[in-house]
């Protein structure tokens, strides 16, 4: 077990180096020149050269790369070009705001889709299964923007159930603000997840060992919740854990429409203003999170599947 985790950790090192190299390459080598963007059209060559020197862009690339690594390790990405705020503080402020609505939506969607998938798998081919699949496909076919506009127009504007947009930190003040984004996120994710979990469960139900479990006289409840579910946990874990980094970054579309000051909103603004250090910091943090959760997925496998730790 420990052996497996250590080996898996070692595998992650080259991936991390690769990520930093690629990110560095995009921003510092092929990306636009931040200095000319910052100084505008009327800057003369001397001004540009001074600025480049001030920001360290005239140093050899290898040193710039080490500076970048230092930024990552110390979690100090400097200040935003646009707002002059500390980027680390911006991220630490923005991530919890995104999590305020992504986390509840994630948990609710997961619970609903896993339990519904067990039910539709149990009644496979029946009317309940068919209706659920039709609703899922219909839900998947509607673009996400339509849900946002529909929700804002009817639930918020016409019926006045929630504020149209905005955000207020603190509990319980935030509830009315996050309610609609949470509902929309759940609706958006349930169609795909349910279809995926249904396939996973159906795949399990036809396994020989499920027939063995039935032949022992076990009740359907035990067959489904013990024998089917534990095997199905393997693909479910992959699907669930790898979604967690996305919870931190939030949804660009939702945050923009609902005026939620999370990381999703920050990145849109940063892109609009060519605020390179902010984009770079978010890119690298997201990549690192993705790596960490990927690693976590593999470790969780070995807890669920006894065959994994041996390989």
């Amino acid at each position: 077990m420990m052996n497996y985790i250590i080996r898996r950790l070692l595998y992650t090192i080259p991936i991390l180096i690769g990520i930093t190299l690629i990110t560095f390459f995009f921003f510092n080598v092929v990306g636009g020149d931040p200095v000319s963007i910052m100084l505008g059209k009327h800057a003369n060559a001397q001004m540009i050269a001074d600025m480049r020197h001030e920001m360290g862009f005239d140093r050899p690339l290898i040193w710039q790369y080490f500076d970048f690594l230092k930024q990552i390790v110390t979690f100090d990405f400097g200040r935003s070009y646009a707002s002059k705020q500390l980027i680390s503080k911006m991220i630490l402020d923005g991530a919890p705001v995104s999590l305020c609505y992504t986390l509840p939506a994630f948990v609710i969607a997961m619970l609903i889709s896993i339990s519904l998938s067990l039910l539709v798998a149990f009644w496979r081919g029946g009317w309940f299964d068919k209706i659920t699949v039709i609703i899922c496909v219909a839900g998947l076919s509607v673009p996400s923007l339509a849900y946002i506009l529909f929700g804002q127009y009817w639930f918020a504007y016409k019926w006045g159930m929630f504020p149209i947009s905005g955000f207020q930190p603190g509990f319980p003040e935030m509830i009315s603000y996050i309610a609609l984004p949470v509902i929309i996120t759940v609706v958006l994710s349930i169609g795909g997840e349910l279809r995926f979990y249904r396939t996973v469960m159906l795949d399990e139900i036809h396994q020989d060992y499920i027939r063995t479990a039935r032949s022992k006289g076990l009740s359907e409840r035990v067959v489904m919740f013990k024998h089917v579910l534990k095997n199905a946990m393997i693909p479910i874990i992959t699907n669930v854990v790898i979604e967690i980094p996305f919870l931190v970054t939030g949804s660009i579309l939702l945050e923009n429409f609902f005026g939620i000051p999370g990381l999703g909103n920050q990145i849109v603004e940063a892109i609009n203003t060519s605020d390179f250090p902010v984009i770079k910091a978010q890119t690298i943090i997201f990549s690192l999170l993705y790596c960490v959760f990927n690693l976590l997925t593999d470790i969780l496998y070995s807890l669920v599947d006894p065959r994994v730790s041996l390989k």
Binding site: D208, Y209, R211, H227, D305, P306, L310
Partner: protein, 331 residues
């Protein structure tokens, strides 16, 4: 046999599956009975309905699309067909249990074998976890697994195919069933392991005084283990009788064909081609009028294409469904 009442009696069983091409009768009017302690073999090619017969007895036909549409399955005099799943569950894995063809995939990979054996002991015998574990160890010892008190915490992937089939047997026998249904228990195993597993089933049958229904396409396996043999073809019983009847005095051309297609090792047939039965098993949705075997039969006459033969006595306790059976003693 001192007890003359069958422990399991299948009467006119009919099992159908809904398919896109229409209703497919996979088991059509099959009857046989199993005495306590007896081993009955059900033989036939792939797709002849032998597995469906066994799953019907267990009540494990996937519904939909499958369904038992007629007949009775009398287990200790009680008809299982009309029973609810709940009532069946108290019999299944308890007095009536089953082992399957694929030991590699028939055990759940994410639970220890001990957990899986104990599951049915706790369910049916209402033992505590601790006692169930002792019982499971005892069962593992009984089926010849070395160091059972250590092996019990192994996962299936840590065992070989033969060992897994032993575990399946331990699981099936853990509640002392009166009848064990073994569906091709040795097909997926090496020949040497096959012999060991058959020997194990044979000795446990005597030790526990249970009846065994052995489903196989392997006549060698039947000859070694069975008292009574039922030969199935395209969903129907074409011949049944004692093992001696079937092997020394086969009546139905199909049985004879099956026996002729076994390679012999006495040198007589050296240098000659192995005999086969020409043609393929008919599509159950497009059965010919008359006898189901007519297209592959060497003794076909006009009558075979117009009427379907029924199972008639051709000797004491020996039946065949053929208008022109081989008479006892040869021709």
């Amino acid at each position: 046999m001192e007890n003359t009442k069958p422990v399991l009696e299948v009467k006119n069983l009919r099992t159908a599956f809904r398919t896109e091409g229409g209703e497919l009768i996979a088991v059509d009017d099959v009857s046989f009975s199993v005495m306590p302690g007896q081993t009955v073999g059900i033989v036939g090619e792939s797709g002849c309905g032998k597995s469906v017969t066994s799953l019907s007895i267990m009540g494990l036909i996937p519904n939909p699309p499958g369904r038992v549409i007629g007949g009775e399955i009398l287990f200790k005099g009680r008809n299982l067909v009309p029973l609810s799943q709940r009532e069946l569950r108290s019999i299944r894995g308890n007095e009536l249990s089953m082992i399957f063809q694929e030991p590699m995939t028939s055990l759940n990979p994410v639970f220890t074998i001990g957990n899986q054996i104990m599951e049915s002991i706790i369910l049916h015998q209402k033992l505590s976890k601790k006692d169930a574990r002792l019982r499971a160890i005892e069962m593992l010892r009984l089926v010849g697994i070395p160091a059972p008190d250590k092996r019990i915490d192994d996962y299936p992937h840590q065992l070989s195919g033969g060992m897994r089939q032993r575990v399946m047997i331990a699981m099936a026998l853990s509640c002392n069933p009166s009848v064990l249904i073994a569906d091709e228990p040795t097909t997926a195993l090496d020949v040497t392991i096959q012999a060991q597993i058959l020997e194990l089933i044979k000795s446990l049958r005597q030790k526990l005084n249970m009846a065994v229904v052995l489903i196989t396409h392997d006549l060698g396996v039947v000859a070694e283990t069975c008292d009574y043999v039922v030969v199935m073809y395209a969903g129907k019983v074409v011949e049944e009788g004692t093992a001696e009847d079937i092997f020394y005095r086969p009546s139905h051309p199909y049985t004879k064909g099956l026996l002729n297609s076994i390679p012999s090792h006495n040198g007589k047939s050296k240098g000659t081609r192995l005999e086969t039965i020409p043609g393929l098993v008919p599509n159950l949705l497009k059965l010919p009028k008359g006898c189901r075997f007519q297209d592959r039969c060497t003794r076909k006459q006009d009558r075979c294409a117009t009427a379907e033969p029924s199972l008639e006595s051709v000797g004491a306790g020996h039946k065949a469904s053929c208008f022109f059976p081989y008479k006892e003693g040869g021709v």
